[in-house]
């Protein structure tokens, strides 16, 4: 659709693109001093939790594009995350002695994007055949994909001169991630996905979720939009993977099994399928909550699970349903 057509669909009060880009630039720039002061004054545990929250936000929002907004039930998000994590981890570990000082930031940006791209390409390859499937069948196919990734990573000791680690895992990856890198990506991920789906070009994503037959009858190439959601979602999952690999410094194939995928699905459902701000809230809550529950020791996960059950009973549509926080009383798609 061209500019003119998009302009028609701009709603009153919609912010022009330049203002959004400027705003994003300012926010990201503002993260630099915040990050520096956090590194200095906040203790490592809190910082670690904050960064894990950021990674969780990227994972939940990107999966929401696939599961909540486009309505394609994917259980393979951890697989895409694993591809990004290993791409970043393997490369950064191998070249850690060559890159330091001023070279590190640009290399890290490059590696993060590369991790995202590897996941996105996998998303494309997996998406084209599997997105013909619907509902439960798609869930099973994507679950299979995630398991294949874990099994393969378990078997590969090294690729050429690059160490992958196999079942022993990959350790001593340089700790490059900090508050700034993580939250810069959080801002980019949230803004890109929100701008995408709430623009004129984004309506078909909701149309595919609402009714695939009616969407096709409107001239929407439904496969294109499903694959697009899958590829973009996979990209950000890959980015989140790189960030988490360089946070802990250790990678284990088992970290990316289907349980991880389900944790992300839970965030999307709990926040409200289709609500981007809901996913952000749920990611914060579900990362912070288990930390707070550490006082209960052995009972921690039981209480966590009980809280999930209670929340689903009380609010089955999720925290925000399909509304967004910043739109007063309007549904998300308006």
């Amino acid at each position: 659709m061209d500019q003119a057509a998009s302009a028609t669909m701009l709603h009153r009060g919609e912010v022009p693109a330049w203002a959004v880009n400027l705003g994003v630039g300012i926010v990201i720039a503002a993260l630099i001093p915040v990050s520096i002061s956090f590194d200095k004054y906040i203790d490592n545990y809190v910082l670690d939790v904050l960064i894990r929250i950021g990674v969780a936000i990227i994972l939940a929002v990107s999966l929401n594009l696939i599961n909540g907004i486009t309505g394609q039930f994917s259980l393979g998000h951890a697989g895409f995350m694993a591809l990004g994590a290993y791409t970043g981890g393997v490369l950064l570990k191998h070249y850690q002695h060559q890159i330091h000082g001023a070279l590190l930031p640009p290399v890290f940006i490059g590696v993060t994007i590369l991790g995202g791209l590897v996941a996105a390409i996998a998303g494309l390859i997996v998406g084209i055949p599997t997105l013909r499937l619907r509902g439960d069948y798609l869930a099973i196919a994507t679950l299979g994909f995630g398991e294949i990734i874990t099994v393969v990573l378990n078997q590969i000791e090294s690729i050429g001169k690059f160490e992958v680690g196999g079942s022993a895992g990959l350790h001593n990856i340089p700790h490059v991630t900090n508050f700034f890198w993580t939250y810069a990506w959080v801002v980019i991920c949230v803004v890109v996905i929100a701008r995408l789906v709430y623009s004129a070009k984004g309506k078909p994503f909701f149309a595919v979720r609402e009714d695939e037959i009616a969407a096709a009858a409107m001239g929407i190439d439904t496969t294109y939009y499903k694959v697009a959601a899958f590829v973009i979602g996979a990209f950000f999952a890959g980015v989140a993977g790189v960030l988490s690999a360089t946070l802990s410094g250790n990678l284990d194939p088992g970290d990316f099994n289907f349980v991880k995928s389900i944790v992300i699905v839970v965030m999307v459902v709990l926040g409200g399928s289709g609500s981007i701000t809901g996913s952000v809230l749920a990611a914060i809550l579900l990362t912070y909550l288990p930390e707070q529950l550490r006082a209960f020791e052995d009972w921690r996960l039981v209480i966590y699970a009980l809280l999930l059950i209670v929340m689903m009973l009380v609010r089955p549509e999720g925290l925000l349903g399909n509304r967004e926080l910043w739109w007063k009383r309007k549904t998300a798609m308006v």
């Binding site: 057509a5 302009a7 309506k203 009616a214 009858a217």
Partner: protein, 253 residues
């Protein structure tokens, strides 16, 4: 001939839903397709619009490419005939065939306006989209009143109007209407059929699938009767209304 379907066979797995069905639709006509439940009417529409793939037969689409008036006669020049079999649903919409699916199928969580804008998905020019909205609000004033309301909150009749309006946004040459009277009150049904006639007068050809045979044959020029996947009868609509067998089977004596 705007659209001609030739020897079309469609199967769901091992079950054959359409057997060698052939129909023709001329430009400017309203053609009614009547028959009992499970006769294959919806299957035929879905195959024409590319939502189902046939196992055999062809569907040719031949829209007029140009019209020239000379000696008080209108000469039409036809473009190349296209076979629709094997094309994707979204490509077929772009050729000018728009399908109003059975049971309305509006995007319930989107507003009326957004539903209509999605119908204009294939249009590029801003002026076309605005003209479409205006035309649609002209045909269905109630939609203009409710344009910011979620489509799911409309009444059944209003949803049907929205579904039709949404399909008209893309300026189709042929409109495929699947059971527009389904589950609607008699008064609303009459209103919908009045609008169908009006749309046709504005130059859109219509293929109408209906269980309400009487209503359908009243507005249609010609009709086809389907039974268990076959066309068993085709005639002028007025003749079908008088036909003893049709009367007995579909018009309640």
């Amino acid at each position: 001939m705007l659209l001609s379907v030739n020897g079309l066979t469609v199967c769901y797995g091992v079950i054959t839903a359409l057997r060698e069905v052939s129909i023709e639709i001329d430009r400017g006509e309203i053609v009614a397709l009547i028959g009992a439940n499970g006769a294959g009417k919806t299957t035929l529409l879905r195959t024409i619009s590319g939502l189902l793939k046939p196992t055999g037969g062809e569907i040719s689409w031949c829209p007029p490419a140009a019209q020239v008036k000379s000696d008080a006669k209108t000469l039409e020049y036809f473009g190349a005939t296209k076979d629709l079999v094997g094309m994707r649903a979204d490509q077929i919409v772009r050729l000018g065939i728009s399908h109003v699916p059975e049971g309305r199928q509006v995007f319930a969580n989107l507003t009326v306006r957004d539903n209509l804008l999605l119908g204009a998905f294939t249009l590029r020019k801003r002026s076309d989209i605005e003209e479409g909205l205006e035309r649609c609000f002209g045909l269905f004033p109630v939609l203009a009143e409710r344009k910011n309301q979620r489509a799911g909150t409309l009444s059944g009749g209003e949803q049907q109007m929205l579904a039709i309006g949404r399909s008209l946004m893309g300026r189709p040459k042929l409109l495929l209407l699947d059971e527009p009277s389904l589950g609607l009150a008699p008064l609303i049904v009459r209103q919908i059929f009045q609008i169908i006639r009006e749309i046709n007068l504005h130059g859109t050809t219509i293929l109408l699938v209906e269980q309400n045979a009487h209503m359908a044959l009243t507005v249609a020029n010609r009709g086809y009767v389907m039974q268990t996947g076959r066309i068993i009868l085709s005639d002028k609509a007025a003749n079908l209304l008088e036909n003893a067998e049709v009367k007995k089977a579909y018009l309640g004596g």
